[in-house]
């Protein structure tokens, strides 16, 4: 029997949650087209801020940096993820428990602790902060996620497939590249997408490890908010939201395609 009361209650709460989650975003998008320096008064529809955005070299630069770091850290952390997931297949090698713990803990740590620790590390090693340090930081926090995602996908792996391949004469390398890796692909891609998302979205850790010269988009936006130069931020935000949605749709398409395959 359907609990009629429970349904009304849960549906209302859920609707409220959705409205709560989406209102600020929607308003932001609307106001990015607002031809007015003051946010609250509507003065007409304009693309003005989008033009200004594209002319703003700092922003373009920050965007470029965000993408570069994103791609590089994704590649690095995914590769590390694959290797580690393969290592963790064998449940009893030396140091399994330690490794698992090591991988799991960063997932729960507040960003700030990781940011502080890396900032002090780099200072201790007298490494100048910039793109290199940001990249290292991103790989560090992404790798736990990629390992967990790929490893959990590997859990349902049918080892009989490997046995069948061996039975048919394939050697270990062939088995890996022809059987295992292709079957791991959905997990690998999921991990890569997750790492990319986390990387382009990160603020706190990047904030601590980027030093003065190097900006990623989130860092730039925060600075702009602090300084008060927020006119183009709405437009930028809308573009980023659009980018994310596009990204999300592509992700869904890829996953559907992979599942079908």
């Amino acid at each position: 029997m359907k609990n009629k009361n429970a349904n009304i209650f849960t549906v209302t709460t859920f609707t409220f949650v959705i409205i709560f989650l989406y209102i600020p975003i929607l308003l932001l998008i609307v106001y990015s087209f607002n031809d007015s320096k003051i946010i609250s008064s509507w003065r007409g529809f304009t693309f003005k801020y989008y033009y200004l955005l594209l002319k703003n070299r700092e922003i373009i630069n920050a965007f470029k940096n965000t993408m570069i770091i994103g791609v590089l850290s994704t590649i690095a952390s995914t590769v590390l993820g694959v290797l580690s997931a393969l290592a963790l297949e064998n449940k009893r090698f030396f140091g399994t428990k330690f490794f698992k713990g090591l991988v799991f803990v960063p997932l729960i740590m507040p960003d700030i602790l990781m940011g502080v620790s890396l900032a002090l590390l780099f200072s201790f090693l007298k490494i100048r902060m910039g793109m290199f340090t940001v990249l290292i930081a991103h790989i560090t926090f992404c790798v736990s996620y990629t390992i967990i995602v790929i490893q959990s996908r590997l859990e349902g792996f049918d080892y009989h497939l490997e046995e069948a391949a061996m039975d048919l004469g394939a050697n270990k390398t062939q088995i890996f590249f022809k059987i295992k890796l292709p079957l791991m692909m959905p997990g690998i891609i999921a991990a890569a997408l997750l790492a990319f998302t986390l990387s382009i979205d990160d603020f706190v850790i990047t904030f601590f490890t980027s030093g003065r010269g190097f900006n990623t988009l989130p860092v730039y936006v925060e600075g702009a908010i602090r300084r008060g130069t927020i006119t183009t931020i709405n437009a930028l935000s809308t573009l980023m939201i659009g980018l994310t949605l596009m990204f999300a749709t592509i992700t869904k398409r890829i996953r559907k395609y992979l599942i079908a395959v």
Partner: protein, 297 residues
């Protein structure tokens, strides 16, 4: 050593080698930095850096009322945030878990999309929405509900609101994942035995979702303890949370890295204690739910 053991050993070494890259990376960039934090906490502070003098200054500072208060309000903030996320998140997660397959996916995507838009931007949009010249106040004035703008920003209200906003999906997703696996015929059984829907919820549904509530709580509470950017952007600058203090001591001149290190260590210890607590509770909850698969005892 016989053949089988040799083979085992080879496999183990092979796995160990595979784990080496990630393991060394994490040891070097995750573990070691904490050792450096530990070391730094014993040095003397300097405006830009640290002086190579050993001292317990940092720790003397840490145990002062000012910082103790900061830990306290950070803890309180995390607690309130987690609780509110639970109140809003549980019904939402429950609804999704009990929906049909098609609807489930749509609802999940709906919850996840805002999660994917940039963190900073979402906080920024709340600032716009809540500020005295912002949309909410304008609307309220327009409809003659208030005369002067409400101070909805630069205070604890805004901080809690935005914290809940940002961390809500972290509560909903693990809760959903847990409730989804529940045997719903148990609810039928409870009603069959005379329990009204309300009683069924409190006696059956809620207790059985304890592990999910725990998972959601960890994912909200611990990151919330270290909150920096949210209080920074929408909170009042009068009472600083521990995340803000640590950040100031690292980045702003005059710096005090030893103090920041000491505070970070304290935070780390607090978090570790919480993790142990959560883990123990988790083990306890999991025990009860394992089903044995035998037909003859």
């Amino acid at each position: 050593m016989n053949n089988e053991q040799k083979h085992e050993k080879k496999k183990n070494i092979y796995s160990w080698i595979l784990s080496l890259p990630a393991m060394s990376w994490l040891i070097f960039f995750f573990l070691i930095p904490y050792i450096i934090i530990f070391i730094y906490s014993f040095y003397q502070a300097d405006i830009y850096d640290i002086k190579a003098i050993l001292t317990l200054d940092a720790y003397k500072n840490v145990f002062s009322p000012e910082y103790f208060r900061s830990f306290f309000i950070s803890f309180r903030l995390a607690l309130i945030t987690t609780f509110l996320c639970f109140l809003l998140g549980y019904p939402a997660a429950y609804l999704i878990a009990r929906s049909s397959e098609k609807i489930k996916n749509t609802l999940l995507v709906l919850i996840i999309i805002p999660f994917w838009t940039n963190f900073i931007i979402r906080i920024f949009s709340w600032r716009i929405f809540l500020s005295p010249e912002g949309i909410l106040n304008n609307a309220l004035i327009y409809f003659n509900l208030i005369d002067t703008p409400l101070m909805l920003i630069r205070n604890d209200f805004a901080v809690i609101l935005v914290m809940v906003y940002v961390y809500l999906p972290y509560m909903i997703l693990p809760l959903y994942s847990n409730i989804e696996k529940m045997d719903f015929t148990l609810l039928d059984a409870a009603m069959d035995l005379g329990a009204s829907p309300k009683k069924t919820f409190f006696k059956i549904t809620l207790p059985l979702s304890k592990d999910g509530i725990l998972a959601g709580s960890i994912l909200v509470f611990i990151p919330a303890l270290g909150a920096y950017i949210i209080p920074q952007l929408v909170g009042s600058q009068d009472s600083l949370y521990i995340g803000q203090i640590i950040t100031y001591k690292i980045k702003n001149i005059p710096r005090n890295w030893p103090l920041a290190s000491a505070l970070s260590l304290m935070l780390l210890i607090l978090i570790s204690a919480l993790m142990v607590l959560f883990y123990t509770l988790h083990i306890k909850f999991k025990e009860r739910m394992i089903v044995k698969d035998e037909d003859e005892k």
